[in-house]
Amino acid sequence: MEKLTKEELAIYEWQLDVPGHGIEGQTKLKNSSVLISRCGGLGSVVAYELAAAGIGTLILAHAGNVKHSDLNRQLLMTQDWLGKPRIESVERRLKELNPRLNIISVPENIDEANVAKLVGMADVIVGAAPLFEERFLMNREAVKQGKPLVDCAMFELEAQITTIIPGETPCLSCLYPDNPVAWKRKFPVFGAVSGTIACLGAMEAIKIISGFGEPLTNKLHTMDLRSMDFQTINIQKRKDCKICGN
């Protein structure tokens, strides 16, 4: 395991004193890798916060080029990168913050062809994808490979998050055993909403890796930033789950 350098001790000084984290936890972050599926409104802030916290390696998967409509929330995209590959902007912006960060950029979205390999490269996965198909793929592979998965999602001013530990908690298919019919791909969104849930997602990944605090295992946390309602729901495995059930 690589030790922290003098520079890193100085940069992370203010988080080393977080009870339960310390140099040991920070060293774990440095030597860990996180896969983030898509770096849009949600994923870009997860990536940014993990880069700021000192994660060693980020594996980032996101296809497509920067569009105007990305810029209200996808904080790793910039005006001067319009029309150019998103993943390049992501890598550039993260390196500005943390040049020590090892980034494995994949200009593709998670699909059947790449999911096993990408999940295999990571210690923890953060799901920030807008499509159920991608989320179900990551869930299936996370369960198969025994990797923790922080699943984040949002809709308008609402958002939700849960942390899936294969074998211990419900998986995504326990929560959604049927394919959703009513879900809409495009919805109104402020960056502050995706940013809020993204920060929670980053913190979940940090807690899992460092080993302190209480991740949202067996819990689904929901929020509505219109009404400022926050709820934590106790969730359960399905015995007949087609992915993780007996």
């Binding site: 807008p130 809709f155 929560l175 055993p177 009513a182 689904l220 219109r226 009404s227 934590t232 729901i233």
Partner: protein, 92 residues
């Protein structure tokens, strides 16, 4: 007797409200109660909750007093219970 209701995302849009309350019948269980919510909130809401054959769509999460409930277990509801019905969300 009443049950407090909460909806999220598309169910909230379809119902027209995020929270409400509805009368609970004597010894009423969750399946009967949810079917009656369709009478109150209409067919758009109903189509998210149930398929064309009237079968519950398990992509919706039912939560009673902040604990996930299984539609098929058809638990008894009590006066003052809070019932959340969450339609699935996916966006990033």
């Amino acid at each position: 007797m009443t049950v407090k209701l909460r909806f999220t995302a598309q169910l909230k849009d379809a119902a027209g409200v995020g929270s409400d309350q509805m009368e609970l019948l004597e010894k009423e269980k969750i399946q009967s109660f949810l079917k009656r919510t369709v009478d109150k909130y209409g067919s758009t809401y109903g189509n998210i909750l149930f398929d064309e054959k009237g079968k519950f769509r398990h992509s919706n999460l039912i939560v009673v007093n902040l604990v996930q409930a299984n539609y098929d277990e058809n638990i008894l509801l009590n006066d003052g219970d809070e019932l959340m019905v969450l339609s699935p969300v996916s966006g990033g």
